[in-house]
């Protein structure tokens, strides 16, 4: 006759796994890492000459230490910044005081007009980080919306739903992230 092995007592198994579960619950934090992604420019060479950019091609955005916004010399509410930036970059009416548009051939899109406009962002050392992020956010929103419009027009889907890396690349080239941050200057006070 076969000797039968006694069954393992698994009653405490649940307790042990509960213990593990609570341990992981306590030590971990569900913080999804998300944020606004940017690419910093390489350091400026010392002997670099200043590049001349036409005045019409630059949208000057200034944030002072009291978190006030100045766009093209005019005080602006942050809620209007996105529309201003979109109008500036797209230049739908081809106005002569808005940026020049350049004909370019981009693989995947063919001939397309690309804006030469650059958004120049300058902030004070005393500007709060929150305001800075809000400004960056609105400018990113403007670019994202322009990309979406172009993507819908050409490929029928929103930019973030594009799967083909070639298409993503083409749209990114047609609407570049043209935000330039001024080199910090040491201004007296803080």
């Amino acid at each position: 006759m076969l000797k039968r092995t006694p069954e393992l007592n698994t009653a405490s198994m649940a307790d042990i796994s509960f213990l593990l579960l609570t341990f992981f619950l306590l030590t971990s934090s569900i913080d999804t890492d998300q944020g606004i992604t940017r690419k910093l420019p390489p350091p400026q060479p010392k002997d670099q000459k200043s590049i001349d950019i036409k005045d019409r091609n630059v949208l000057k955005v200034l944030v002072n230490k009291s978190d006030n916004l100045l766009v093209q010399g005019k005080p602006t509410n942050i809620r209007e910044l996105k529309e201003t930036a979109k109008l500036f970059l797209a230049n739908p009416g081809r106005r002569s005081d808005y940026p020049e548009m350049e004909e370019k051939i981009i693989p995947g899109l063919g001939k397309i007009t690309v804006s030469k406009g650059v958004i120049s962002l300058k902030n004070d050392r005393g500007t709060s980080y929150d305001t800075y992020i809000q400004v960056q956010n609105e400018l990113t929103a403007a670019i994202n919306e322009l990309r979406n419009e172009l993507s819908k027009q050409r490929f029928g889907v929103a930019f973030k739903d594009l799967k083909n890396p070639g298409y993503i690349d083409a749209i990114s080239k047609a609407v570049p992230v043209s935000i330039s941050e001024a080199e910090p200057e040491n201004i007296g006070g803080n």
Partner: protein
């Protein structure tokens, strides 16, 4: 005669708890997968700003973190401080930090290393600008301003 009653009377059968552990293990694995264990304890208070145009950071292993905020210990004052790994640092240590972070990754991952700036919303831009300048010098160009998600402004 037939016996109708068993000796000892009727007993309620016990609930089988054999599958209980399986269920709990399933929970456990679920939590292990979706959560991240913070590798360093925070020495600074961070309440990140909120933004609508957020992107998710794809690979956790390719991200290094820089924390900037007010110290948690009140004795250290309210001046914003930088935290690298597990200690307070100065702006001058950032380049060495980036080099160390690069060295701990393999050859292919170094180029796609992202620096996540976890900065308190109330911080002044001065210290953030200094950090960004150091990152440029160190060649860590890909950065991510860590934020929470909020809805976009409604257009009128």
């Amino acid at each position: 005669m037939a016996r109708f009653k068993k000796a000892g009377g009727r007993t309620v059968p016990g609930i089988n708890t054999g599958s209980m552990s399986d269920i709990i293990f399933m929970f456990l694995f679920f939590f292990m997968v979706i959560t991240t264990i913070r590798s360093s304890t925070l020495l600074v208070k961070i309440a990140p700003p909120k933004a609508s145009e957020v992107q998710k950071l794809e690979k956790k292993s390719l991200v290094s973190f820089i924390y900037i905020g007010k110290p948690i210990k009140a004795a250290l004052g309210t001046e914003s401080r930088i935290q690298l790994n597990d200690s307070y640092a100065t702006v001058g240590l950032i380049q060495a930090f980036v080099v160390a972070e690069k060295q701990s990754r393999n050859e292919f991952d170094r180029k796609v290393l992202t620096t996540s700036l976890k900065v308190d919303a109330e911080t002044k831009m001065g210290i953030v600008t200094d950090v960004k300048q150091e990152l440029r010098k160190a060649g860590a160009y890909k950065i991510n301003y860590s934020t929470h998600k909020r809805d976009a402004y409604t257009t009128r």
